[in-house]
Assembly symmetry: C2
Homo-oligomer: 142 residues x 2
DNA sequence: ACTCCTATACTTAGTAA
DNA sequence: ATTACTAAGTATAGGAG
């Protein structure tokens, strides 16, 4: 693309990598928006920035501006683990939770209406007293 | 684009809308992959198809093929609530759970190391006996 | 739904500031 | 990090099958 064709592998120079990320991030969000508007559907994007020092700046960029974002349920970038405001974290959580709710409903359908957390053998119960203080999903691996 | 420039509003003809969705879905996934590979990061996409009758077909398309997907943590399309296999649902859940875990960690950092579910005033506790059978995130709204 | 086609529209790598 | 530029690569609407 551009002047030269880029090889599809990790960009080793960190400055170039961050620049490329920044440019392509903007277009993919734009594309997601177009898809959502044109097709009247919801699109969610979760991205993890390769470069944590640009976090705050990028988080501000990810805010909705102009006609962008309208139909994007949520767009988080860059590193979720470095979110700096409770509001940001809450909004992200809320989306993830509703996505989970939808998945649980479909899973219950497939399984004949049973709840899944008690039956899902891939997710172990915490060895606690059964209280909810440490929720089940803590132990999921990435 | 293409022969004619498309107005950025909902495509009213449902056949065209589905066709556009199908085409643009493929490119946005490709873009997400490129971003993930080039920048060595994780990108997640969640899409909801405008047309549920094409669900199964689209779900099969969303499977990883060739060099695509490598760095995409998860890509679910179309309607999550209609996922037909427990495997699909489990994989999606696992990603969402790990994303949540990361968010909880950052939130705990911001809040000084406290857990968030007990303190998050936006999320009400279920009015149950405190057991985990109905998990807290059930009540999140989309 | 999918392909294949093509002209047009859009994206983008590299560069400079 | 940002903008602006531009040449070259990519995406896509509309059409046909």
């Amino acid at each position: 693309m551009g002047r030269n064709k880029l090889l599809m592998k990790k960009i080793e120079d960190s400055t170039s990598r961050q620049q490329t990320y920044s440019k392509r991030k903007d277009s993919i969000v734009k594309k997601a928006n177009e898809l959502a508007v044109l097709c009247d559907t919801d699109v969610a994007l979760l991205m993890f920035s390769p470069n944590s020092q640009h976090l705050t700046q990028s988080l501000e960029q990810s805010k909705c501006e102009g006609e962008m974002v309208e139909k994007i349920a949520i767009y988080y970038e860059p590193q979720v683990e470095n979110i700096m405001s409770v509001q940001e974290a809450s909004a992200c959580q809320q989306f993830l939770m509703s996505a989970m709710e939808q998945i649980q409903l479909s899973k219950a359908k497939v399984w004949g209406g049973e709840g899944f957390l008690q039956r899902n053998e891939n997710i172990e119960e915490p060895a606690g007293d059964g209280s909810c203080e440490e929720t089940n999903w803590i132990e999921a691996e990435h």
